[in-house]
Structure formats: structure tokens, C-alpha cells
């Protein structure tokens, strides 16, 4: 992997709209309050964590492509625009080719569920307005339309670790010149059927929604640079006995770590990290389980900590729900010699 640098972060989470809200919430280290989400057929609602309404309605929601879009698109665009900052104008003017990678597990599931409910009632009268929003790449499409970005654009579907695969895809595009810059977004939306399904695998898990984004370029940012130093291979972890071995192989591809470094992990107590010498952060206990969005928040948290000089380097470790163990490493290139791995 050639050198890749983080030029911006964005987050829309149950903590609020923006990286500042995410940082404050994670620093506070207390689980956010739960909200109720009605579950048809049950008297008792599901306990979830939902993105609060924005303090001011974002202007971009008035865009014709975004008015009817589902929450996942609102979150994805919000996180992306925060990460892009003023470069959004450069993209609109055609001065910068932006590659877009959007990662998700459940996609536009609320509209998919609504549409299929209508199909079950009467397929002849199901709404043609809803169906297009059910495709996995609708959020990526809306973002590209909002930015007027005609460059390469992928939507990757899979577990939380897919977000780190997305970072590697973007690094490849920067490497071979397919894009001048890339935005990598992880996004999920609130939906009772997803929260219901999550409970089947872990009754303590709290479904959460939102989005996170990293903005990547091949040259370092002038201020507070953060480098994506490595994305490990993805190790299959589809069966319980494989998971520890997959996590061990993933860990073996990264430096041992040092005191003062940050580990942002998708779960507590993974044996692969038992000798980690630095600080440990597990946002899932604070924010809830948000799959690809959760993985993106982990990356945002590490990059933000490096920019805030809380650490010189940090790892993001994801042992996905059903697919893979994979990790990424971020460093301050001015503080540490990059330890690059492909």
C-alpha cells in the first residue's frame, strides 16, 4: 500500500451530529441513554440508540435527491460533508476527482421492509417511489449526485470489518490514480427488523445507527496529519472456533504497540489483544452496535485522538459479527516512523 493520509473525519452518531459530539461522548465513557423503537406485534418496544435530530436542519436535505431519501442517506451525506469540509466545493467545480466507497451491512433496510410489506399486501399497488431507495448503493448515488461527482463509486456490503476493506479499496484507487481523493463512509439506519435480528445473536446488544467517514488523499495534510499506515489482511471468522485464530493472525500483522498508543476495538476481552500495552477504547458499549457505521466511528475516534495529540498511533480492531477479523493502523507521521503493511 502506498502512503495514504487522512484529511478529514465526519461522524453522525447517537451522540449527535459531528466529530465533536462523538469525541465528547467517548471521553465521557458512559453508555448513552436508550431509546424505544416500536416492534410490530410486541407490547414492549426494542431498546436502541438513534441519532438525535440535528440542532439545525442541514441545508443539504433540501436537495431534490435527498428529500425522500431514507435516514441512512441523510447520515452518510452528513458524515461525508463534515469530512470533506471545503473540498466539497472543489469536487463540485470539477477540480478534484472524488472516489466514493460506502460500506454497510443492512443498507436502506427501512425502505426495503416498507416496500416488501406493501408487496405482501398487494404487489400491484406497492409504491414505485420507495423501491429505488432499497438498493444498497442508493446512499452512494445520492452523495455523488449532491456533489456532482462522476468518478468511481462502490458500495461494499458485509459486516463491520467491511469498512476497513473499504479503506483498502480507496487506497488502491489513490495508488493507481483512479481518484485524486477518496471518501470512505460506513452507514446504517434505525430499523426494528435489524434490531430484532441482532437480538437473536446477542440479547444484550443494542442496535445503533448513524454514519462515519474518513477523507483520504495520497499527500499529507498540512496541519495535524494522520496516516493510514496499514490495513491487515481479512481473516475469515465465520465459525466460533475460527474467531480467536483469525484475530491472532490479524494482530500478528501489526506492530506490538507501545504505551501511549490507542486500541479501539469492536469488542472487549479479545484474547488477541490481551498484552496490548496502551489505552483501550470500545465504543460499542457506549454507542451501541452499528456494524459498518460503528467501524467508521472507531476509525474516526483513533484519527481524532491522534489529531488531538492524545496518542501518536492507534489501531482499530474489528472481529466482525459473521465474517472476518481485520484491523487498521493510524499514525502521526511526524511522531512515528510509519510501519506500513499491505
Amino acid at each position: 500500500m502506498s502512503r495514504v493520509f487522512v484529511h478529514g473525519q465526519g461522524a453522525v452518531s447517537p451522540a449527535g451530529w459531528g466529530v465533536t459530539a462523538l469525541r465528547a461522548c467517548l471521553n465521557n465513557a458512559r453508555p448513552l441513554p436508550l431509546q424505544s423503537l416500536a416492534r410490530p406485534g410486541w407490547d414492549k418496544p426494542l431498546a436502541v440508540r438513534i441519532v438525535p435530530p440535528p440542532p439545525v436542519r442541514p441545508a443539504y436535505l433540501g436537495h431534490p435527491r435527498l428529500r425522500r431519501a431514507s435516514p441512512i442517506t441523510h447520515y452518510a451525506v452528513g458524515a461525508a460533508l463534515e469530512a470533506l469540509g471545503t473540498d466539497a466545493d472543489l469536487i463540485r467545480s470539477g477540480g478534484l476527482r472524488l472516489g466514493i466507497v460506502t460500506c454497510t451491512l443492512t443498507g436502506g433496510i427501512s425502505y426495503s421492509r416498507r416496500f416488501y410489506e406493501e408487496v405482501m399486501q398487494n404487489p400491484a399497488t406497492a409504491s414505485p417511489m420507495i423501491f429505488p431507495e432499497t438498493v444498497f448503493n442508493s446512499s452512494a448515488s445520492h452523495l455523488a449526485a449532491y456533489l456532482g461527482s462522476p468518478a468511481i463509486n462502490y458500495t461494499l456490503v458485509g459486516d463491520a470489518g467491511t469498512y476497513l476493506q473499504g479503506l483498502a479499496v480507496a487506497a488502491g484507487w489513490l495508488d493507481n490514480g483512479l481518484a485524486d481523493a477518496c471518501i470512505v463512509i460506513g452507514a446504517e439506519e434505525p430499523e426494528w427488523s435489524a434490531a430484532d435480528a441482532l437480538r437473536l445473536f446477542d440479547r444484550r446488544a443494542v442496535h445503533a445507527s448513524g454514519a462515519g467517514a474518513l477523507y483520504l488523499k495520497a499527500l499529507p495534510a498540512a496541519a495535524a496529519p494522520v496516516e493510514l499506515a496499514a490495513v491487515t489482511d481479512s481473516f475469515a471468522a465465520t465459525r466460533a472456533p475460527d474467531r480467536q485464530e483469525a484475530a491472532r493472525q490479524m494482530r500478528a500483522q501489526l506492530p506490538a504497540g507501545a504505551p501511549g498508543e490507542l486500541l479501539c476495538a469492536s469488542e472487549c476481552g479479545n484474547p488477541a489483544w490481551k498484552d496490548w500495552p496502551g489505552e483501550l477504547l470500545t465504543p460499542v458499549g457506549i454507542l451501541g452496535e452499528a456494524f459498518a457505521a460503528g467501524a467508521a466511528w472507531q476509525c474516526v475516534a483513533v484519527c481524532d485522538a491522534i489529531q488531538q495529540s492524545r496518542c501518536a498511533a492507534g489501531n482499530v480492531s474489528i472481529t466482525g459479527q459473521s465474517m472476518q477479523a481485520i484491523a487498521a493502523r493510524f499514525v502521526n507521521p511526524k511522531s512515528l516512523k510509519p510501519q506500513t503493511r499491505t
Partner: protein, 397 residues
């Protein structure tokens, strides 16, 4: 490309599909997988799944849980795997494209969750096998390979983008070999979705026909084994063909409709040619996206003609969706295999159902089976959301 596997409504395997595409057969019939009695369109290119799966490493329990999309992918994947002659040693990345994964299980999950909300039997299993990554994992387990699974879901360009990305992985030296392709099974949600948009024709689709009135959905899968040339030559593998170029662009005009003049499609074709180092004069056949919707074919016609210039007058073009329908996430992958078949067999796949060619088409629509001397083929895939992908293939001698 050292291995290829395919399953469509023509049947399972290279030969039956090559025969079907070469002769211009059509494979449309009434849909039986779900109730279409209350919908405008009642036909599709539904596959009669073979009773047996090829030999594989899945347990009896795993096999019992395999649903339609996984079975399609396994049938195509095993054919490609056996043809390439790879062994399970080492890591093997897999890059796949799909639009809906195992959506039939998502539908079952929701039906049970709504109708019997306190009945959880088999719900966890449905969720596990509904998730899009699981079909790739099933194929990896069936073949006994380890390595990452990347699933691209760019609507109808998913399969082409998967192959394009896999080609980049090999080209950049990030992998010596990659298994790649696309798959999609017919499901009620998608069928009803296209029907509500009035994008489905009640009669078999007729791409580039003046009277075209919509697409016909199909299902299928295709898998290619991509390998770095030196690796293939060292082990004496039979090389089926070469991927020469790939271009991907976004059409930001509308969520479901292409820009009428096909500007983004044109950009994808130009990008693919630039990466391949060829001009339109160097392309011998175009496998069009050709869905048979009025909007797609109009935009694609404009794009092909703008791209080809004077070459358009003699350029053979056809859409093989005329025979097997629109395979959505599998379309680009199956059409890549069709190009490979045509290049190896030296023939052009015809659209025998074409009645009156759209007068806007100034290129040569292939209407009858014919032999042809072709060295290169270009394949277009354009999807909902504006994802456009073009692949270019070369005959290997």
C-alpha cells in the same frame, strides 16, 4: 482468465450456455418461484436448478441451508474452480457482485416476524444466510479456500465492477489470483419493484427494438478465475482470455434513469479504452447493457455512437439480455463470460427476437447467428443509482 463458470436460464455450464448464446435462443417462461398473478409482468428467465450440486467441502448441514442464490454461485464457482485447476493452498481473495444476495430469506424472515412475532424458530438461520457476505463465505467453504470476501453492490453494474476490481488487484500486484463474478436469484421484492416502476415488459424483452417496452428479469451467476499471467504460464494453465481494460463512472442525473445522451456511459467506455490502450477501431464486438427499457437503450445508443464515431456503422452490437433477461448483479459477470465464449468460438451472439431495429441505432445489431473473426470485445453494465462499468476483453492465442 484461466477458469470460467456460468449458470443461466439456458442451463448450467459453459457448453449449454455457449450453444444458447451462439444460436440466439430465448429462455423466458412463466415465473413459478412466487405469486405474480397480481402483477403486470408474469414472465422471467427462471432457472431450473440442477438436482445435485457439484462435489464440494460443505457439511450436510451446510448444504441443507444453502438457498437459491448460494446454489447458483456454487454451481458457477465450482465450474470455474475445476477448470482453472487451482488448489486450495494459500489465500484466495474473492470479489463478488450482487444486488440482493439471498433476499428470499429476508422476505421469509420478515413474514414470520410480522405474522408470528413470538415465533423465533429458524429466524437466526435466515438472518445468517440472508446476509450478503454469506454467499461468498459459502462458496469459499465449499471450495476449501481462505481469504477475504469483498462484495460490491452497485446495482446492475455489480458483477462488472467486481471483475474490474479483481482485475485491478491482480494488475497492481496485490493478488496473484482472484475468484470473481456475480450472482442474483429471482425474488419477489425485486420483481415487484421493477414491476411497480413499470420497467418490466409483459412480453419477452427486445433490446434496441423500436417497439421495446421494458426489461425481463432473469437469474444466474458467473464466476471467473483471474490469474497473473506469469503464474498461469508457470503452471501451464489454459488461458481462456485476457481482461484488457476497465472503466467505472457515475451518472448523477437521476436515481433510476440514465442521462438521456449517455454522457456517463460514454465516459465509462472511454475510460475502459484508455486503460486498455485501444480505440473504438480496435473493438470488434460490443455486448451492450441493452435492457430494452426505452430510457436505457436510448442513452446507450447515444453513448455507443458518440464513442465509436465513424466506426459505429460497421460495429457489431448485441444485448444478450434478449435471451436470458436482465440478471442484475450477475449481468456483468455473465456477459463477461459471453464475451469470452464469443472470442474463443469466433462467433457473435445474436438477438433473434428483434423485430424492428430502433432507427436511432446506426450500429450493426447482430440479429442472426454468425461466425466472426473477433479479437476484442467490450461489455457495458449500467445500474440503478448511476453506476456504470465497462470491461474490455481480448482473445488469447
Amino acid at each position: 482468465m484461466t477458469g470460467a463458470g456460468v449458470i443461466t436460464a439456458f442451463g448450467a455450464g459453459w457448453k449449454i450456455n455457449a450453444d444458447g448464446f451462439r444460436s440466439g435462443r430465448t429462455a423466458f417462461r412463466p415465473v413459478t418461484l412466487f405469486d405474480v398473478s397480481r402483477q403486470r409482468c408474469k414472465i422471467g428467465a427462471e432457472i431450473e436448478l440442477p438436482a445435485d450440486l457439484p462435489p464440494n467441502r460443505l457439511s450436510r448441514g451446510d448444504l441443507r441451508r444453502l438457498q437459491r442464490a448460494s446454489r447458483l454461485l456454487l454451481l458457477a464457482g465450482a465450474e470455474a474452480w475445476n477448470q482453472t485447476g487451482w488448489t486450495a493452498a494459500g489465500r484466495l481473495p474473492m470479489v463478488l457482485g450482487t444486488t440482493s444476495g439471498e433476499m428470499c430469506l429476508g422476505q421469509e424472515y420478515l413474514r414470520q416476524a410480522l405474522r408470528t412475532p413470538f415465533e423465533f424458530k429458524r429466524q437466526a438461520e435466515r438472518v445468517t444466510h440472508y446476509l450478503v457476505q454469506q454467499q461468498g463465505i459459502n462458496l469459499a467453504n465449499a471450495l476449501g479456500v481462505e481469504g477475504e470476501v469483498i462484495t460490491i453492490s452497485n446495482a446492475c453494474a455489480s458483477g462488472a465492477n467486481a471483475i474490474g476490481y479483481a482485475w485491478q488487484l491482480v494488475g497492481q500486484g496485490r493478488a496473484d489470483r482472484v475468484l470473481t463474478g456475480g450472482y442474483d436469484a429471482l425474488c419477489h421484492l425485486t420483481f415487484a419493484g421493477f414491476d411497480t416502476l413499470q420497467a418490466l415488459s409483459p412480453t419477452p424483452c427486445r433490446p434496441f427494438d423500436a417497439g421495446r417496452d421494458g426489461l425481463t428479469l432473469g437469474e444466474g451467476a458467473a464466476v471467473l478465475a483471474l490469474e497473473e499471467l506469469g503464474s498461469a504460464e508457470r503452471r501451464g494453465a489454459e488461458i481462456l482470455g485476457e481482461i484488457l481494460g476497465y472503466g467505472a463512472t457515475m451518472d448523477t442525473h437521476h436515481l433510476t434513469q440514465p442521462q438521456p445522451e449517455g454522457t456517463a456511459a460514454l465516459a465509462a467506455m472511454q475510460a475502459a479504452c484508455a486503460s486498455a490502450g485501444v480505440t473504438p477501431e480496435g473493438i470488434d464486438y460490443v455486448n451492450a447493457h441493452g435492457t430494452a427499457t426505452p430510457q436505457n437503450d436510448t442513452a446507450e445508443t447515444a453513448a455507443i455512437q458518440a464513442w465509436a464515431g465513424a466506426r459505429a456503422a460497421t460495429l457489431p452490437v448485441s444485448s444478450t439480455k434478449a435471451g436470458i433477461g436482465h440478471l442484475l448483479g450477475a449481468a456483468g459477470a455473465v456477459e463477461a463470460v459471453v464475451c469470452l465464449m464469443a472470442l474463443r468460438g469466433q462467433w457473435l451472439p445474436p438477438e433473434t427476437s428483434l423485430q424492428t431495429p430502433d432507427p436511432a441505432c446506426r450500429f450493426q445489431i447482430v440479429r442472426q447467428p454468425m461466425a466472426a473473426k473477433i479479437q476484442t470485445a467490450l461489455s457495458n453494465s449500467f445500474g440503478f443509482g448511476g453506476s456504470n462499468a465497462t470491461l474490455i476483453f481480448r482473445r488469447w492465442l
